[in-house]
């Protein structure tokens, strides 16, 4: 049972890490074009335009 004291918070930590990753990807606009993202993955075009750095005002 004592091992729980370490494992449970550890599991929560990992969960938080996942949440942080999700929030970061949302903020950086990765959910804005899901149709396009699906196709970009299999496109053999090696030009990769950088994603928009900032939201234009």
């Amino acid at each position: 049972m004592e091992v729980m004291v370490i494992l449970v918070p550890l599991a929560l930590m990992l969960g938080l890490l996942g949440l942080a990753a999700f929030l970061w990807s949302l903020k950086s606009g990765q959910y804005e074009d899901l149709d396009g993202a699906a196709w970009r993955a299999i496109s053999d075009d090696d030009q990769t335009p950088r994603p928009p750095a900032k939201e234009p005002a």
Partner: protein, 731 residues
């Protein structure tokens, strides 16, 4: 005159070195287009970014400031085969995008908490040899995870409930908020007192499911708004503005101010309200008034946005949208009609109006009942909370948004865009459809009706000559002949026609008098006074083309199908009687009226409504906008004026009338599925509530019942995608 194109109005500065432009692009449908456009634009020197958004069909371009003209990108896209237009998101669209992002963030937080709390609460439910200390530890950890997450992720509900209470009304979010807050508060008290069970998991799971419903609802609105916004941008008019005494510049309408002078050439659609300061011409006002005969325009004549300039070049002084303009008059009628309609209550709100008080009363009565029966206050309140949670409109919250999302996607594929969130509910109830004629039942463009009798080579030649003219009748000839190559050396004689030398002979295309074909033209006109004529002469040979607005190819079939569904169809047009009679006869519509003014249209629709009919109005003109607003539900073709499109609940694409039928069919199907979903949600409550009232609902049962009913409702919603149409289903 010098001619430039100025789109600087749309260019934004990202930082001091980089300029940014958003373009709506037509025809982007696949990964190939995406790669082609991005490669094509990135190849231009000084372009730092070209990125296509395939979901919204938009393109973002950034370049070194000052190095390039924005018009260059539009030209480059045209070379690649795509029509593009600078795009500026409207405020509503930006807000919708922000809101959907916020909901997704809340959903992420809530889902994280739900998943992790399950890990902590399953051992507690299962029990076994868990020591009281370990149980307390789990409860405290649950509180630590759930309380901040619920505080953040519950915001959409808390805010909405607070707004409703401040306005002294009740909506669905009030019982949700009370249930969640009570459950969390009670759980915290239980944790402090080392009790056996807490409700943290149930509360956060409830928030997660409800957020999923909200997000779907929001996504539907955002998607249709984005596509509709693109279409608006693609057909956004430009005006040719004088920037000096004889220097002109093509600018977007958004950059035209009152007092500016704009140039209106033959064949151009006027984009402003104003008065003519120079020139003579004829004006086609059919989009505004439904009248197909031309009106004379000279110095001092008022012209309106949406009218078509026919023969001469005009200079127009732009007027402010002052009182007394046609637009002001129509806007007034529109406001009036919209106010009358805003009383309509959506199905979800209607359901919650009845639902919320029943839930509160049940929970309260349960608690009181248990106290009277001798239970302790503590136990009675715990059971009361269980009732609140188990009845929380989880399935009810998903029942309607899920169906709306599925149905809106299916309707989009059938060529129908939803402008209003409740358009589906409104359209499902329709039993009478009133059609406008010009531009709605007929195609917006003119077409040649006697092309079959004309020799092929003559037709081709006339078509090639017609390419040089802006005149709408000539354009119809060019389209019908499918002419591609314009003739060289064409001279235009304003108000009369065009001529050119071809293989040593003079070709003429224009008015019958200009071509010397009066006799032939009069013969056609006396047989059918409704058509417009254009003559073509080569040497001594004359050909006269008869041109008219054709009915949409499937208009008769669609109206037939509507009648088969028990819908009565009427035709209401501002056009003259013979033209309307002709269309009504061709379509087999017996109820029709011609020469109707906007106010009369509204009066007619009100009369139908007072007879208890549920009316759908389908129209495209500016004069239809008020009656579109007055009807229970309204629909416009995408070729309609901006005002009509903005007023319509539904907008349809393409040349066919079939989307009107699709809108009715899909709405009826979606409405049926929504009702089933409500019945499912209520049926679940009928089963679950007695268990909760009896005090038998453990958190595990509550959680399972809640997720089970939600998943059932979601699966059922998927069925709104398919509609049967007399054996054949819509794609």
């Amino acid at each position: 005159m010098l001619m430039t194109r100025d789109f600087s109005h749309y260019v934004k500065d990202v930082d001091p070195q980089i300029a940014h432009l958003d373009l709506a692009v037509e025809g982007v449908s696949c990964a190939g287009c995406m790669a082609k456009i991005e490669r094509g634009l990135s190849a231009i020197p000084d372009v730092t970014l070209a990125r296509v958004n395939l979901t919204d069909r938009r393109l973002a371009v950034e370049w070194k400031k000052g190095a390039l003209e924005p018009a260059l990108f539009i030209d480059r896209l045209a070379e690649l085969g795509y029509k593009a237009y600078p795009y500026e998101p409207v405020r509503a669209e930006v807000e919708e995008a922000e809101r959907s992002k916020f909901l997704l963030r809340c959903l992420g937080v809530a889902a994280f908490a739900t998943m992790n709390v399950m890990m902590l609460s399953v051992p507690v439910w299962v029990g076994g040899d868990l020591s009281p200390e370990a149980r307390d530890f789990f409860h405290w950890l649950s509180a630590l995870v759930v309380l901040p997450c619920a505080a953040y992720a519950g915001q959409p509900f808390f805010q909405s409930a607070w707004r409703a209470l401040k306005a002294k009304s009740v909506n669905m979010d009030v019982p949700i908020t009370i249930g969640v807050v009570l459950a969390l508060g009670m759980s915290l008290v239980e944790t402090i007192h080392h009790a056996e069970h807490t409700y943290f998991d149930a509360a956060i799971m409830l928030i997660t499911f409800l957020l999923a419903g909200r997000f779907l609802d929001q996504k539907m609105r955002q998607r249709t708004r984005a596509v509709a916004g693109n279409l608006a941008a693609l057909k956004a008019e430009t005006a040719t503005k004088f920037v000096g005494s004889d220097e002109i510049s093509e600018v977007p309408i958004a950059a035209v101010r009152a007092g500016d002078i704009v140039l209106l050439r033959p064949g151009e659609r006027c984009a402003v309200d104003g008065s003519v300061v120079e020139g003579r011409s004829e004006i086609d006002q059919s989009l505004i008034t439904g009248e197909t005969l031309y009106v004379k325009a000279e110095r001092g004549t008022q012209v309106y946005a949406g009218t078509l300039n026919i023969s001469g070049t005009l200079r127009v002084r732009v007027a402010a949208a002052a009182e007394g303009t046609l637009l002001a008059e129509i806007t007034r009628l529109l406001d009036h009609a919209l106010q009358a309609r805003s009383r309509y209550v959506q199905l979800a709100d209607r359901a919650s109006q009845y639902y919320a008080p029943v839930v509160h009363a049940t929970a309260l009565l349960t608690t009181i009942g248990w106290v009277l029966a001798g239970a302790s206050w503590h136990d009675a309140i715990v059971i009361g909370i269980a009732v609140l949670i188990i009845t929380c409109p989880c399935a009810l919250g998903l029942a309607i948004p899920a169906v709306q999302t599925v149905a809106s996607g299916a309707m989009f594929r059938a060529g129908v865009l939803l402008n209003a969130g409740d358009a589906i509910e409104r359209a499902a109830a329709v039993d009478t459809i009133v059609f406008d004629k010009t531009g709605t039942l007929t195609l917006p463009e003119l077409d040649v009706v006697n092309g079959a009798g004309v020799p092929d080579d003559v037709f081709q030649l006339a078509g090639r000559l017609a390419l040089a003219s802006h005149h709408p009748v000539a354009a119809a000839v060019a389209r019908a002949a499918q002419a591609k190559a314009p003739l060289p050396g064409v001279t235009e004689e304003p108000g009369r026609g065009v001529r050119a030398l071809f293989e040593g002979e003079e070709l003429r295309l224009g008015s019958p008098a200009f071509c010397g074909a009066d006799v032939e033209a009069n013969a056609i006109l006396s047989a059918d006074p409704e058509v417009s004529v254009v003559a073509f002469s080569r040497g001594g040979q004359h050909t006269v083309f008869a041109v008219r607005q054709l009915l949409r190819p499937d208009a008769a079939r669609t109206i037939d199908a509507l009648v088969n569904r028990g819908i009565s169809v009427e035709l209401l047009s501002g056009d003259r009687e013979p033209a309307v009679r002709h269309a009504a006869d061709a379509l087999g519509v017996s109820a029709w009226r011609a020469g109707v003014t906007p106010a009369e249209k509204i009066a007619h629709i009100e009369a139908l409504k007072s007879q208890g009919r549920v009316v759908m109005m389908v129209g495209d003109g500016m004069n239809d906008a008020p009656s579109l607003a007055a009807a229970h539900v309204s629909m416009s073709p995408i070729s309609a004026t901006h005002l009509s499109q903005a007023t319509a609940d539904l907008v349809f694409l393409g040349k066919e009338l079939a989307p009107v039928l699709a809108a009715v069919d899909y709405s009826r199907k979606a409405m049926a599925v929504m009702r089933q979903n409500l019945a499912l949600a209520i049926g679940y409550n009928v089963l679950a509530v007695p268990i909760a009232i009896a005090g038998l609902a453990t958190p595990l049962i509550a959680a399972l019942a809640m997720s089970g009913s939600s998943i059932l409702v979601m699966l059922n919603a998927m069925r709104a995608r398919r509609v049967r149409l007399g054996g054949a289903s819509w794609k």
